[in-house]
Amino acid sequence: MKKFVWAVVTVLVGAVLIAAIGLGFHDQQYSSPYGTEVAKSVGMITVNGKQYQHVVLNLVTEPSAQGTTSNGQIIHPGGNPSWPAYAVTNEYQIPANAVVTVKWSQYDSGGVVNNPYFAKPRGTIGGIERVNGKPVTGVAADNIAHTFTLRGEPGVDPRFFLSVPGPISKLGDNAENNKGGQLVQFSFISGKPGLYVWNCEFPCGLSVGGFGAVMSSYGYMSGHMHVV
């Protein structure tokens, strides 16, 4: 009998140990210290004869993850200074079935996107985006810094899709944090409630396809969109 008590104790100790290791793996994730950026409501809007709640979400892309934003916050404490990043967090929250207007300040340099499909805005209202206030149906495929590509998660709404390219900084290859910004503005109608992922489809990393390094590391050019 005593042996069986000890066997149970072993199982419990093992389970606790494994759970502790699990927490270790868990804690290193989703580690943006700045929490979730929530879109601000700006009233109601009518699109195609239908009334929606209208919210505004601010995005920033910076060329150096270890630099600071215009608020003086370090984007990725301890991050690689040569890696670009979405600032200051990579977690966003928008309401479901609402019109979301995104104001995206893009400060990074760039080049040719792998697939010209991503040089055009996809899934935005009217199929357009505004670059510094000017409506355009796309950015030249060799003038792209990043894209904001949002898709429905497998469990939520796999048909939901949004992708918008951002042109390279006005400073070109000498891009600096918070300098030479391009303001990209676009609106889309959000999908069902749930957790969506977004990432960048511009090859801003190293190695094969430009998708190594920063692009394979979660939290710089990738993150979550909470649709509530």
Partner: protein, 245 residues
Amino acid sequence: MSITDQQMHDSHDDHGHHGHYEEGGNHHDTAQEKHRKEHMATWLFIFGDVVFFLLELFFWFYLRANNTAGMWRAANCTPANGKLGPTDEGLNTCTDGLFNPITHAIPKANPVYTIIVFALIAIAAAFVWFAEVQSRKGATKKTTHPLTALALFFVLAAIAAQFYQFQVLPFTTIQGTYASTFEFYMGSNVAHFLLALVIVTGLWSRSRLGKFDNGKWYQLHLSRLFLVWVAASCVILGLVTIFFA
């Protein structure tokens, strides 16, 4: 049931010729058993190395067959056409390994250095073989020591020549799969030569101490087996790089 003579004979060789083998070694064994084991192990090691070697050849011929452009890049990857586009969406830039576009033709390796390298290691193997033959004839360290010293010299020369070839190659590893495979072959030569260096240094040092005197030739024999294989693999790789470039 009694043990028959045949069964007694099955697993025990006769114990008669200790004189031909070096004494000592594993406390379980007679020298002859030790020789038999090490002989078998040497061949098994060579077997594993042969598998690796055949795969090296496979890499060479597979990549060569797969690519038609200079330096074995993809067929459409020529200086004139900087894009790889299997479908109309494809915009993979045709680059070297560092994202630089390919803009000029690159010469292939000079076979002279390849020949020098495999000649040197073959000579080293030949000296070890000669030392073994002499030792089998009962030679003393007066003969084996100079011979192994010469072998050591040629192994070192082969290593130096191989590194020199690295220096004078007209291409670098990143410039196409011909360059990659060629330099991989050279790397595998270096690895072999370093192993040979350890062995031949041992032979040289031990022959100086007279360890191969009085017909104790078996370590020379095993070393010779391996060195001949190293030389053979180097020669075959070299000829492949020359005739199937």
